[in-house]
């Protein structure tokens, strides 16, 4: 016990730990409120299960915090390989739920390998970037790093799990940026994605190109070849995707349209967003009071203990509650980034920034979705959404940051 407490209290990690504990306690409180009126009796015990996951999460946290970084560094590629094998296995043997194969059923608990794969990927990419002697903008280094990211993203996309796949690319970009990759390369990476989406409408595409050319000439003045490359790539991707689009079946087009604009499916995804906004908006400044959220109680909110848990909190505790949750996250991210800045070892800095990026992006996608800023994607809110895999991995990511914080002086 003493070993536990010493590591948490004496390493400068106490504030981090307390912030995450607060978020998890908020989670238990909200899960209880969300499900105490559930018609399905199995859901009513979810808050107890969440407590068990919380305790296990602390164990995972301490374990990650205490495991020497040198060990992770040495085994980083092994982690990556194991994660890929698990994801591959999923395609072959995984359990199907809601039309996707994302879980291994282990009797008492469904295990989602894409969650663990995030951690493995962070370690592997950090190891590669910090060990390779080539400068970061060396083409071979970029291609290898892209391949590492691309392969694992492809496996996750096959499930299909678009939400998790996007997280991998965001973590990848953050770590590449941290390793010193100039911003213009990230422009090269992300603008084709926007071009693909913008090409669905002629006007959007024209405006996008105008902006792109302005941005390219301003940011990368020095290299006209680069500007040409960027514009050509975007033109190509945009043109090809509109051709590909016409070859999709109607229902496939519909699915993509609904993903981008849930309003097109008012009875499905669009409905959830409307109800979620009503719940949050009607919470006002101070909320309707604990267990008094009418949207919540009257069963209007779908998936309210998992993906829409933030809406429950915002309805019952109002803007006050929402700001507390945002504040706790802000604190975690600030600490995380500072830890990364402080770390003397390149590997550790990269690992910390990867962990922060994973947590921050998931938070952004989840809350962005429930308030209606972003399309609906099944991404849980770290520490707060109900669910074992998500909570344990959130604590594991936090453990990584804490570990770096404790050993920041090591080279």
């Amino acid at each position: 016990m003493k070993i536990f407490t010493r590591d948490i209290f004496n390493s400068g990690n106490l504030p981090l730990f307390v912030a995450a504990c607060l978020l998890t306690i908020i989670s238990i409180v909200l899960v209880y409120s969300a499900n105490h009126v559930a018609t399905d009796p199995r859901l009513q015990d979810d808050w107890v299960k969440q407590i068990v996951w919380f305790l296990l999460g602390i164990v995972v946290f301490v374990a990650t915090l205490k495991a020497p970084m040198r060990f992770h560094e040495a085994f980083a590629y092994v982690y990556y390989t194991v994660a890929c094998v698990l994801l591959l296995g999923l395609i072959l043997f995984g359990a199907s739920k809601f039309g996707a194969q994302r879980w291994y059923h282990l009797g008492f608990f469904s295990f989602q390998p894409s969650e663990v794969a995030k951690v493995a990927f962070i370690f592997a990419l950090a190891r590669y970037l910090s060990y390779s002697r080539r400068p970061i903008s060396h083409l071979r280094k970029i291609i290898t790093a892209c391949a590492m990211c691309g392969f694992i993203t492809f496996l996750v996309l096959r499930q299909p799990d678009l939400g998790s796949a996007v997280i991998f690319t965001v973590v990848f970009s953050a770590m590449m940026f941290w390793a010193g990759l100039p911003a213009r390369y990230l422009l090269l990476f992300y603008t084709p994605v926007i071009s693909m989406i913008a090409s669905s409408s002629m006007w959007a595409w024209i405006i996008f190109f105008a902006l792109l050319i302005v941005a390219a000439t301003l940011i990368v003045r020095r290299s006209p070849t680069f500007t040409i490359l960027l514009v050509t790539l975007n033109l190509l991707v945009g043109a090809l995707s509109s051709i590909a689009w016409n070859h999709l079946h109607d229902y496939q087009q519909m699915r993509i349209k609904i993903f981008l604009d849930p309003g097109q499916d008012p009875l499905g995804a669009g409905y959830q967003i409307i109800q979620s906004k009503v719940a949050i908006g009607s919470g006002g400044l101070l909320g309707k009071g604990y267990m008094a959220g009418s949207q919540n109680k009257l069963d209007y909110l779908p998936l309210r203990h998992t993906d829409f848990i933030f809406s429950v909190g915002a309805e019952e505790f109002g803007m006050l509650g929402a700001v507390v949750i945002l504040g706790l996250f802000a604190f975690l991210f600030l600490r995380g980034i500072r830890t990364a800045m402080k770390a003397r070892s390149e590997f550790m800095g990269l690992v910390a920034i990867g962990a922060v990026a994973a947590l921050a992006f998931q938070m952004f996608v989840n809350i962005g979705m429930v308030v209606g800023l972003l399309p609906v994607a099944g991404v849980p809110l770290p520490f707060v959404s109900y669910g074992g895999s998500s909570l344990l991995v959130s604590w594991m990511l936090l453990g990584i940051i804490a570990n770096v914080e404790r050993n920041w002086m090591e080279y």
Binding site: G268, A279, A314
Partner: protein, 613 residues
């Protein structure tokens, strides 16, 4: 290597990005919870948004001449919104007699809805207008109950082609395809299922503002209603005239299956499976008894025998045996074996031919013409099991044809491993070959796959994928046409095929042909009869044929269960459907008009005045 200075800059940029993201979220939260607070509060406390789905009209299914085989007609549906029901038991008690359902059924439908309880659950579809009026009049008695003008599927020709057209049913809670709304109709069988996506269209929705007590305030200002987009029209290759004729030739007493297709394209012209059922039973509200009665009927009317019935092909498979032996050079067109004296002695067993007095000495064409078992026993022995299995597989008897109707079954082609497993390694003898050679025993085929094989023989070895869809016409007039797909090439040379076709011609046109009675004057036709042993009763009658023999435009296979000889029970059905086909295509004179029956009418009206005519 990362230098410390730039690391600080990058750290600051990262913090900046995080701050921007958090600020964006905070701004949106402020907008929802402070600026628009009153609006949302009102929405949540006083009003509820009710979403009333407006089901899109399902597309028509038409035959090749545009006659509707399935279409939607307007009908009333009564729905209940679970969250607005106060006393479920009382409601179901009062509602049950009005809508002709039992109370338990109503309660179950409402209780089964575990999610989306604010959305209407369709309780009873296709309700009589009188009942709708009663519900409308006593609206306050039934909080949460509503009715809507909806659609019900009808099949104007009832039993005709019901297996392949299929039917629709409600999407239930267990089906988690996210693009389908619970309670909406989905194709459950036949082409209704295969082409559900284009047929169903896109549902619309009305956003209504409703008070907590259920009073409708009107449309929601901030959300315009969405109109439904009707489904596409599905044009089938089916010819309703041929289909109805084929159905009628089976009558109500015969069981079996028939498939007619165009060998050049794979278009299915008629497909009958008997006994059948009335597809209208499944549209809208299905009384439990009706379904039970059909499901437990021992004549199995729900089984689509054309694609799921597995039968031994009988002598119709002699073409496979002959083709393989010719192709491998084991026989040629002049090969004669031991003559037929009513059977063939193999070891200590005597294998009988169907003709007790024997066929004498035959070449391969003659053996096909008279369907001599003795000849094919010997061809089978010469061929050997491995060769036979190999050719049966190359001809596609062990795979599905890929027709666009779901749940097709593949045939069964036994091989050495299979016999070893079934009878033990030393438990079977070469005698199985004799049986396989004449199409009896362990080879099992579906009527459709046998038709495909014969269509391939008729079509110079090119085997087309059978299909029903000819085109899909979207509401805006856009037409997608089906392209003929070549499934495989039969493993026979042009010479072998011409020998097989000549055999088939002699079956119908030859003096001793087993189907000589089914000749069509003016149209040269080829075919092969079959009589398949049936362990459960009388033998099944087969006939497969194609015409005109030089350039066939139609190929058909018929099996009549427990009807004895193919020439008697099955071949006449094929002949009659062929005649109708050629009358329609102009190769034969149109049928004489039906006799005018006003004789009888006059006699009935004016008894005793008949002599005036």
């Amino acid at each position: 290597m990362i230098d410390q200075v730039s690391k600080t800059t990058r750290g600051r940029i990262m913090i900046g990005i995080a701050a921007l993201v958090l600020l964006a979220l905070a701004a949106k939260i402020v907008q929802l919870q402070v600026i628009d607070y009153q609006y949302y509060l009102q929405m949540s406390e006083e009003n509820r948004i009710r979403l009333v789905p407006r089901t899109a009209m399902r597309g028509k299914i038409v035959d090749r001449e545009g006659r509707a085989l399935a279409q939607d007609r307007p009908a009333y549906t009564v729905s209940v919104i679970p969250t607005e029901v106060r006393h479920l038991q009382r409601l179901s008690e009062e509602l049950a007699p009005l809508i002709d359902m039992d109370e338990a059924g109503i309660e179950k439908k409402i209780k089964d809805r575990r999610s989306r309880k604010h959305e209407p659950v369709a309780i009873r579809r296709d309700l009589a207008f009188a009942s709708v009026c009663v519900i409308e009049e006593s609206n306050e008695l039934f909080p949460g109950v509503m009715y809507q003008l909806d659609h019900a599927r009808t099949y104007p020709f009832g039993n005709v082609a019901s297996h392949l057209i299929g039917y629709t049913g409600e999407v239930d809670e267990r089906e988690t395809q996210s693009q389908y709304r619970i309670g909406s109709m989905i194709g459950r069988a036949g082409v209704e299922r295969t082409y559900d996506q284009p047929l169903r269209g896109i549902d619309g929705v009305d956003y209504l503002e409703v008070t907590a007590s259920g009073r409708i305030l009107g449309s929601l200002e901030s959300k315009p209603n969405k109109d439904p987009v009707p489904g596409s029209e599905l044009g089938l290759s089916l010819d309703l005239d041929l289909q109805m004729l084929c159905d009628s030739l089976f009558g109500d007493s015969l069981a079996g299956a028939a498939v007619f297709m165009d060998p050049r394209t794979g278009e299915v012209l008629a497909m009958t499976s008997k006994p059948d059922y009335d597809a209208n039973l499944f549209s809208g509200f299905v009384p439990r008894d009706d379904y039970q009665r059909l499901a437990s009927d021992e004549r199995r009317p729900l089984l689509d025998r054309t694609i799921r019935g597995l039968y031994p092909p009988g002598s119709t498979a002699k073409l496979l045996t002959a083709g393989a032996a010719l192709e491998l050079g084991l026989i040629d067109v002049n090969t004669h074996f031991k003559p037929c004296y009513g059977g063939y002695q193999f070891g200590n067993r005597f294998f009988r031919c169907h003709k007790k007095s024997g066929h004498g000495s035959q070449d391969v064409i003659g053996a096909i013409e008279v369907s001599c078992d003795t000849y094919f026993y010997q061809v089978g022995l010469k061929l050997g099991l491995d060769n036979w299995t190999d050719y049966a597989r190359k001809c596609g008897f062990d795979v599905v044809t890929g027709i666009d109707v779901p749940n097709e079954k593949a045939g069964h082609v036994p091989d050495e491993d299979w016999y070893n497993k079934a009878y033990g390694k030393y438990g079977w003898t070469k005698a199985v070959l004799l049986n396989l050679g004449i199409g009896q025993g362990e080879l099992l085929v579906t009527p459709l796959s046998l038709t495909q094989f014969y269509a391939g023989v008729a079509n110079h070895g090119k085997v087309m994928q059978p299909h029903l869809m000819r085109y899909i016409k979207s509401p805006n007039g856009e037409i997608t046409r089906a392209n003929p797909v070549v499934t495989r090439q039969l493993p026979f040379s042009e010479r072998t095929l011409s020998i097989l076709v000549e055999g088939c011609r002699r079956v119908v046109e030859g003096g001793a042909g087993t189907a000589a009675r089914s000749r069509i004057p003016g149209i040269p036709m080829g075919g092969k009869t079959g009589t398949a042993q049936n362990p459960h009763g009388n033998e099944h009658a087969w006939f497969c044929g194609f015409a005109p023999i030089d350039n066939p435009t139609i190929c058909g296979c018929v099996i009549v269960e427990q009807a004895g000889h193919g020439s008697v029970a099955a071949a006449p059905i094929v002949r009659d459907v062929f005649i109708r086909h050629f009358q329609k295509t102009g190769l034969l004179a149109p049928p004489a008009p039906a006799p005018i029956e006003d004789f009888i009418a006059l006699e009935d009206l004016y008894p005793g005045h008949l002599q005036l005519r």
